[in-house]
Symmetry: C2
DNA sequence: ATGTATGCAAAACATTTGCACCTGG
DNA sequence: CCAGGTGCAAATGTTTTGCATACAT
């Protein structure tokens, strides 16, 4: 139940917010652009502005309900932050996004930052890949 | 000598291209935005359009002379591709960019992609950090 | 000469914002 | 009721493009 989620992060439970959450939860594609969320809503017969989609997604991000990723291509994608941390692998042929998590890499990143006298605040690891048995 | 570099990648040796290369080589900051390159040129008394800077940088990228990175913030930065592969650490307080390379991480990335049946074409690893002894 | 490059201004995008109106608590 | 949310259109910031002119080879 999401109404509680919204209240917990100090956001009013409004129709646009519930609708956007619903799209993110029910989409079979996990990583969506703002435009994609917007179109999904229009297709579902819902009325709301693109600006609102952006505002809602940005608020959700600040609230930790959603994660924003800037993969190559200039358009951000959003995904529900309902899983533990993970990184991404993007297939350059199909656009498929695969999530993975490797504790050893996480540890190494931490060690490297520390070696330089820093603490990791955030990080982004994306592998752009191609199927192995390719022409 | 860069004229050769340009010819080698099939680009005519023109004044704007040489100027942009020069800025990238002589700048004390390694990672520059297109805008920064443009301003550096104007400051140096050189005349050329921002559009040309973008075109030249994009051509250099295709030619492998320059690498483009999309750190957080919506503005791409460019750096001379005169070093071996490395990843980046961006200090969120000072904007400092530190380069690092860890063979173990590289290997793990390769192994992970392989496990899923992919070959890595490219990858991006950026650590957003903060100084350790911070308030 | 002639195929490329460049400059400028305009277009194209993704995203944000101002403001009048609406709505949830 | 009233702070906060929304829609729309306009603004923003970055990057790309069309086209006439200029240049490298």
């Amino acid at each position: 139940m999401e109404e509680r989620d919204l209240r917990n992060v100090g956001l009013k439970v409004t129709s646009p917010r519930l609708k956007v959450l619903k799209i993110l939860e029910e989409s079979d594609v996990r990583h969506l652009t703002a435009e994609a969320v917007y179109r999904a809503l229009l297709d579902a017969g819902e009325e709301l502005g693109l600006a609102t989609v952006y505002r809602v997604l940005t608020q959700f991000e600040s609230a930790g309900l959603v994660a924003r990723h800037n993969f190559e291509g200039g358009t951000a994608v959003f995904e529900l932050a309902d899983r533990t941390h993970h990184d991404h692998m993007v297939c350059m042929e199909t656009g498929t996004v695969i999530e993975f998590c490797d504790e050893r890499i996480e540890q190494l990143q931490h060690d490297i930052a520390e070696k330089y006298g820093y603490i990791i605040e955030d990080h982004s690891l994306v592998l752009y890949v191609r199927p192995k048995q390719d022409t």
